[in-house]
Amino acid sequence: MKQLAVISGKGGTGKTTLTAAFASLANNAVVADCDVDAADMHLILKPRVLEKEDYCGLEVARIDLELCIECGKCRKFCRYGAVNESFEVDPYKCEGCAVCTIVCPERAVSMGKRVSGVAFSSETRLGPMAHARLGIGEETSGKLVSAVRSNAKKLAEQYCKDLIIIDGPPGTGCSAIAAITGTDLVLVISEPTVSGIHDLKRVIELTAHFMIPIVVCINKYDINEENTQMIEKFCTELGIPVIGRLPYDDIATKAMLQEQTLMEYAKNSEYISENEFANRVLQIWARIEKILMDIQGKQKGIKALEINKL
């Protein structure tokens, strides 16, 4: 079973839109929406939930005020500032480390479960899908991402699917790392803006850090062709394939408004430009499939990149 992760560093470059389009094109895939704190894939794929499970992340400290003698040790030892003057624990600040439980002389502190999200295993018109909803402001988005990926694997086994397509989160932090570790290929959706380029370089470093092969696709390439060429140039220098360019087009929004994938929408579109757009997506997908086929087991990604030189 192969795993493809779609990320971008910068938000709003088209990860979900393209992942949904790939879901229409892949014959035998499971979709995993790993952008758990702003999950949007379900708006297009309209999943029918088969199983749902409360997801418990790190625990949260509770102080029994009946037993508490207000000695202040918990507050002194808590490195996250989670215990206030009245010995109440702020759940948004508590990281569940449990240090307070070991320093309390009265055993007044206990660790309680906290439901930090819900994980779903679902069916859609385009195949099985794993997704989740993170509770507001919860700490453990990375762990919930891992839970989604493990559900996706189970679905793939159950439905005999040989590919998992992961819609990743923006950024380079805990959720992004959880979304890409152990995958076979990372696709970065970039855009030719100063932010897009900066963030692309950061995610290239990230994938190099975890030694995962990477390919790049440039969305909205025509808003700044000079920047597009710059991206293509430095990717080539790093030996990273740029597998396609997509123009600026409202098709993504139009398809979204119809709750359709790009491919579903384009099928009924009479505009040449929209059909061309869909064709480009088709070609990008064909290249990805070929690269995935060529990847034998775990390859080593590019190492020791000198991104700063660029």
Binding site: K10, G11, G12, T13, T16, V36, D37, A38, D40, L43, L58, E59, F77, R79, Y80, Y92, E95, G96, C97, A98, V99, I102, V103, L134, I136, G137, E138, E139, S141, G142, P169, P170, G171, T172, G173, C174, S175, A176, E191, P192, T193, V194, S195, H198, D199, R202, E205, L206, H209, F210, K220, I223, N224, N227, Y248, D250, T253, M256, L257, E259
Partner: protein
């Protein structure tokens, strides 16, 4: 006054709004709290200097003293310590620096050393706006620790604009948790609207007054405006879906600098925020 610029969905225009608002105001501090992907300075071009490292404590185990009692590895909630038959293994990148293992160790075999998570930088003296940013090291996961350190540089006598990260998880709470006001930037598409509602859930849960800026106005449909109207949420500004703005953005130019009239509009946003906060204050007393 501390104003955070946030959004559930990424790429809706948080950085654009933060920059343009900060440039329209005077005596203002701008903080780039999107420490995983800080972009503000691409548009400001300031020369940055390091203020401090953001550090996290990690255990160092003295194998001479360690009796492999496993109390530390059993205690660690982050799986940063693992007990092998002959020694305890430390995984620094998983450690949250809580210090519990060192407190527990009966042999006093655990010392703490410091690991760098990232860095806080600021623009050289005399830059306007006054600018600070955090940068999380590649491969690190403790985003919130960098944001908290960065926010220690807020000067309460000034107006602070905080460019928050996307999403709804802990880095967002760390960025907007102690703000006076939150601006939610969105676009009127199904994704934008869905994630706006998530963001509204957050600001309501942590009780921060807020308003909405609709970016790429004209794209999509009118669902955001209708929702805001029905919910009595103030729409502070609409930024049109203008290729000129997108093109300026692609080159790293904040559009207030190039497009006449927008300075006043962002000043108007600031006035509207002040008015809304004054109204809330009045209702309270």
């Amino acid at each position: 006054m501390k104003i955070a610029i946030a959004s559930g969905k990424g790429g809706t225009g948080k950085t654009t709004v933060s920059l343009n608002l900060a440039l329209a105001l005077s005596d203002v501090q701008l903080f780039d709290c999107d420490v995983e992907e800080p972009n503000c300075n691409l548009f400001l071009g300031f020369e940055l200097e390091k203020v401090e490292d953001v550090i996290c404590s990690v255990p160092v185990i003295d194998s001479e003293k360690c009796s492999i009692c496993k109390q530390c590895s059993d205690f660690c909630r982050y799986n940063a310590l693992a007990a092998l038959p002959t020694r305890i293994l430390v995984f620094p990148s998983l450690c949250h620096g809580c210090g519990g293992c060192a407190i527990l160790c009966p042999e006093e075999a655990i010392q703490e050393s410091q690991r760098s998570l990232g860095v806080i930088e600021k623009a050289k003296e005399g830059s306007s706006p006054e600018f600070y940013r955090g940068l999380l090291n590649i491969g690190e996961t403790m985003t919130s620790a960098v944001i908290k350190k960065l926010q220690q540089h807020i000067d309460n006598r000034k107006t602070a604009i905080i460019d928050a990260p996307p999403g709804t998880a802990c880095p967002v709470i760390a960025s907007i948790g102690n703000m006076d006001y939150c601006v939610l930037v969105t676009e009127s598409t199904p994704f934008g609207f869905h994630d706006l509602k998530l963001a509204i859930d957050i600001v309501r849960a942590i009780k921060i007054p807020f308003g909405v800026i609709i970016n790429r106005w004209g794209l999509g449909d009118s669902r955001v405006e209708e929702y805001c109207k029905a919910e009595g949420i103030s729409v502070l500004l609409k930024i049109p879906n203008d290729l000129k703005i997108a093109e300026l953005y692609s080159r790293g130019i904040p559009f207030v600098r190039e497009m006449p009239g927008w300075d006043e509009k962002f000043l108007g946003v600031f006035e509207a925020i002040k008015l809304q906060l004054a109204g809330i204050e009045e209702a309270r007393t």
